[in-house]
C-alpha cells in the first residue's frame, strides 16, 4: 500500500514537471514564430512608410516644376531637357522606375527612361485613382515574373498632385525598394536572431532547471522513503525484540519458578533437621529470581502506569508485608506517612517492588533491635533510612547499577537498587542515595507530584 502510494507520488511529480517543461517549450515556440511574423509585417510597414515618404517628397519637390496637368486637370505633357532632368532625378535618386500620371481625362504611362509607353482613356480607372486620392502603397511585381520576395521589391504608391491647393491628378509611382527592404530585413534578422538565441537559451536553461529540480525532488522523495523504510524497519525490529524479550521474560518466569517450587515443596516435606539449612538458600534463590524478573520486566517496559495511586497506601502495604520478616530478625520497620492520600501516577506493583527492595536493603544493614524508617511526604517522595554503616565512599556513583554490592555482600544480589532506579525512571522520578544525618544511609525515591489531584482532594477536605 505504501509502495503504490510512493509510486503515485513519484508519477505525480514527474507528470507535473513534464507538463511545465512542455508549457515552457510551447511558449517559446509561439513567441519565436509570433516574433517572426511580427518582424515580417514590421518590415513591410516600414518599407511602405519609406516608399510613401519618398514618393510624396518627389511629388512635392517637383510639383511646381513639373505638372503634367493644367488647373482643370487636363494633361499638358512633359518634354525637353526639363523632362530629362526629372526622369534622371526620379531614376537615380528616388529609384522610381515608372511614373503613371493620372489626370482627369486620361492616364499617361512613362517608363524609367521617360518614354511614353501607353495611354489609357478609360474613365472608370481614372475616377478610381482620383477618388482614392490619398497616398497609398502596395508591393507590386513590376515584371510579373519574379517570385514574391525573390526579385526586386517594387512599391506601388499613389500620391495626389495638387496645384494651387486643388487636386489636379494623381501620380502612380513605382519605387524600387529592394535595397531598403534588404537593409531593414538584415537589421531585423540580426535582432531577431539575437533575441531568438537568447529566448532559446533561456528556455533551455528553464527546462534544465525544472528538470534538475525534478530530479532533485525525486531523489529527495526516494531518500525520504528510504529513511522512512529504515526507521520502519528499525522500529519493527525493536518491537520484535521487545516482544521477544517479553515472551522470554514470561517463559523465564515459568521455567525458573517451577523447579524452585518443586524444590521448595520437597524441602517442606523433609524432616526439618535435614532440610533446615537448605530452606534459606532456596528462599534466597527465589528472591534472586524475582529480582531478575523485575529487572527484565522493567527493561521490557511491561509496566503500565495509572492515575490515582496512593503512595501512602503503597508504603503501608509494603511495610505490612515485610514487617513479619523484620520481626524474625528482631528488627523493626517504622512508617511515617500523611493521613491524607498522596496521589501519584504509577504502577502499584512496581512501586511496591521498588520500596520492598529499599526496605530489604536497609534491613540488611540494620543491626538487631534496630529499626528502618520509612517516610512518605505529601510531595510524593518516599525515604528509607537506616542506621547502618552508611554509604561506601568508593561506590557512591555506582550504587544503582546492577550487581554492584554497595555495602558488602549481605545476602543481596546487587539488583535491588537497580530495580529502584529503573522504577523511578519509568515513573519519571528519581532515586538518590544520601548520607543520613546522625549516621547511616538514606534512600529517597521521588515521583512527579500530582498537584492537581492534591487540590481536588483539598476541596473535599474539612
Amino acid at each position: 500500500m505504501a509502495v503504490t502510494d510512493d509510486r503515485r507520488a513519484e508519477r505525480r511529480l514527474v507528470r507535473r514537471d513534464s507538463a511545465l517543461i512542455a508549457a515552457i517549450v510551447a511558449v517559446t515556440v509561439l513567441a519565436l514564430s509570433g516574433g517572426y511574423a511580427a518582424s515580417r509585417s514590421l518590415v513591410e510597414g516600414l518599407t511602405e512608410a519609406h516608399a510613401l515618404r519618398v514618393a510624396a517628397g518627389f511629388t512635392r519637390s517637383l510639383a511646381d516644376a513639373l505638372i503634367p496637368f493644367d488647373r482643370e486637370g487636363r494633361f499638358t505633357g512633359m518634354a525637353g531637357e526639363e523632362q530629362e532632368a526629372v526622369y534622371r532625378f526620379a531614376r537615380e535618386v528616388a529609384h522610381i522606375d515608372r511614373i503613371v500620371a493620372i489626370g482627369l481625362d486620361r492616364v499617361i504611362v512613362f517608363d524609367s527612361a521617360g518614354e511614353r509607353t501607353g495611354q489609357i482613356n478609360e474613365r472608370p480607372t481614372i475616377i478610381d485613382a482620383l477618388t482614392g486620392g490619398r497616398s497609398t502603397v502596395s508591393f507590386a511585381d513590376l515584371d510579373k515574373t519574379a517570385p514574391p520576395h525573390g526579385g526586386p521589391y517594387i512599391a506601388e504608391t499613389y500620391v495626389p498632385v495638387h496645384s494651387a491647393g486643388r487636386l489636379v491628378g494623381v501620380f502612380e509611382l513605382y519605387l524600387d525598394v529592394s535595397d531598403y527592404v534588404t537593409s531593414v530585413e538584415e537589421a531585423f534578422g540580426t535582432a531577431y536572431a539575437t533575441v531568438a538565441v537568447a529566448v532559446v537559451l533561456a528556455t533551455v536553461a528553464a527546462v534544465a532547471l525544472v528538470d534538475r529540480s525534478m530530479r532533485r525532488r525525486l531523489a529527495d522523495l526516494r531518500r525520504m522513503r528510504a529513511l522512512r523504510d529504515d526507521a520502519e524497519t528499525a522500529r519493527s525490529a525493536m518491537e520484535r525484540s521487545l516482544a521477544q524479550q517479553r515472551r522470554f521474560t514470561a517463559n523465564a518466569a515459568h521455567e525458573l519458578r517451577t523447579p524452585l517450587a518443586v524444590l521448595r515443596a520437597r524441602l517442606d516435606g523433609m524432616e526439618p533437621a535435614k532440610a533446615g539449612a537448605l530452606v534459606p538458600d532456596v528462599e534466597r534463590m527465589g528472591r534472586l529470581v524475582e529480582q531478575l524478573l523485575s529487572v527484565a520486566r522493567l527493561e521490557a517496559r511491561m509496566v503500565e502506569l495509572s492515575d490515582g495511586i496512593d503512595l501512602g497506601h503503597v508504603a503501608r502495604d509494603t511495610v505490612a508485608h515485610l514487617f513479619p520478616l523484620a520481626l524474625l530478625e528482631r528488627k523493626s520497620i517504622v512508617l511515617d506517612a500523611p493521613a491524607e492520600p498522596v496521589p501519584v501516577r504509577g504502577n502499584v506493583f512496581a512501586l511496591e517492588d521498588a520500596l520492598r527492595n529499599l526496605i530489604e536493603n536497609a534491613l540488611r544493614h540494620t543491626p538487631p533491635d534496630g529499626a528502618v524508617d520509612v517516610t512518605v511526604t505529601a510531595d510524593a517522595t518516599v525515604e528509607v533510612g537506616d542506621r547502618g554503616p552508611g554509604l561506601p565512599e568508593t561506590l557512591r556513583g555506582q550504587l544503582f547499577e546492577p550487581f554492584v554490592h554497595g555495602r558488602g555482600r549481605r545476602g543481596g544480589a546487587g539488583l535491588g537498587l537497580a530495580i529502584v532506579a529503573e522504577t523511578a525512571a519509568i515513573h519519571g522520578g528519581t532515586a538518590v542515595a544520601l548520607d543520613r544525618p546522625g549516621g547511616g544511609a538514606l534512600f529517597r525515591l521521588s515521583l512527579p507530584h500530582r498537584s492537581v489531584q492534591a487540590t481536588d482532594r483539598s476541596e473535599h477536605g474539612t
Binding site: A250, A261, D268, H321, L327, F349
Partner: protein
C-alpha cells in the same frame, strides 16, 4: 477437609499433595483444565488450588465457569507466570487469594486456612495461637483452657488479629472490625483497646504478643520460646 490441586507439573502436584495430606487434608490432583472441570462437577471441594498456566486452557477460564455457576468454593490461584498482570486478573477473576511460585508450605497452609475461615468458609469455628484459643461461634476466649473475659471491642480486635496471626493487620481493617458503620471513632481509641488487650493477655499468661507496626497497624504472633525466660 477436601482439597483439589489443579497443577500440570506432576512432581509439584505430588509433593504438594503429600505435604497437605500430612496436614490432615484429603487431596485430589488433576493436571489440566478438562480434569479440573470433571473433578469440580463430580465432587464438592472445600478449597481449590488452581494453577493458571494449564496446558489445555487458561486456569482463569475454569475459575470463571465456576463463578458463573454461582459456585463460591474458595479458590487460591497459583502461578509461575510473571505476576503483576496475572495477579490483578486472578483476583478480578474471582480468586480468593493468589500465590506465586515458589511458596513455602506454611504460607500455603496459612492461605488455605485463611480462605476456609472466611465468612461462608467451612473452618473458623476455633482459632488457636500458642496457648490462646478463640471460638468464633460461642465467642469464648481461653488461655491454657481457662476462660478469659474480654470486653466486646477488645474481642473484635483479638479476632481480627487472630484471623491473620503472623501478619500485619492495618489500622483501617481493625477499626472497621471494632466499630460498626457510623460509630464515632476517637483518634486514639484503637491504641487504648490494643494496649488494654495486650495487658489482659499478658496477665492471663497467654504466650502471644501484639506488636505495634508504627504507621501501619498491629501484628499478633506466638512468643518465641525463650529458654529460661518468661513464666
Amino acid at each position: 477437609m477436601r482439597l483439589l490441586i489443579v497443577e500440570d507439573e506432576e512432581e509439584l502436584a505430588e509433593l504438594m499433595k503429600a505435604n497437605l495430606r500430612r496436614g490432615g487434608f484429603a487431596v485430589d490432583t488433576v493436571g489440566d483444565a478438562e480434569g479440573a472441570r470433571a473433578a469440580l462437577a463430580a465432587q464438592r471441594y472445600d478449597a481449590v488450588l488452581l494453577d493458571l498456566g494449564l496446558p489445555d486452557d487458561d486456569g482463569l477460564d475454569v475459575l470463571a465457569e465456576l463463578r458463573a455457576r454461582r459456585d463460591g468454593t474458595p479458590v487460591i490461584a497459583v502461578t509461575a507466570r510473571d505476576g503483576v498482570a496475572d495477579r490483578v486478573r486472578g483476583l478480578n477473576g474471582g480468586a480468593d487469594d493468589y500465590l506465586t511460585k515458589p511458596f513455602a508450605h506454611e504460607e500455603l497452609l496459612a492461605r488455605i486456612h485463611a480462605v476456609l475461615r472466611r465468612p461462608g468458609g467451612v473452618m473458623g469455628l476455633r482459632l488457636e495461637l500458642a496457648n490462646l484459643a478463640f471460638d468464633s461461634t460461642s465467642r469464648d476466649v481461653t488461655v491454657d483452657g481457662a476462660a478469659l473475659t474480654v470486653p466486646r471491642r477488645e474481642l473484635a480486635v483479638l479476632e481480627a488479629l487472630l484471623r491473620r496471626s503472623g501478619r500485619v493487620v492495618v489500622r483501617d481493617a481493625l477499626e472497621s472490625a471494632v466499630y460498626a458503620f457510623g460509630d464515632e471513632v476517637e483518634s486514639n481509641a484503637l491504641e487504648a483497646h490494643v494496649s488494654r488487650l495486650r495487658r489482659r493477655l499478658g496477665d492471663a499468661g497467654a504466650r502471644v504478643s501484639v506488636h505495634t507496626v508504627r504507621g501501619v497497624g498491629y501484628l499478633l504472633r506466638a512468643e518465641e520460646d525463650k529458654p529460661g525466660g518468661g513464666d
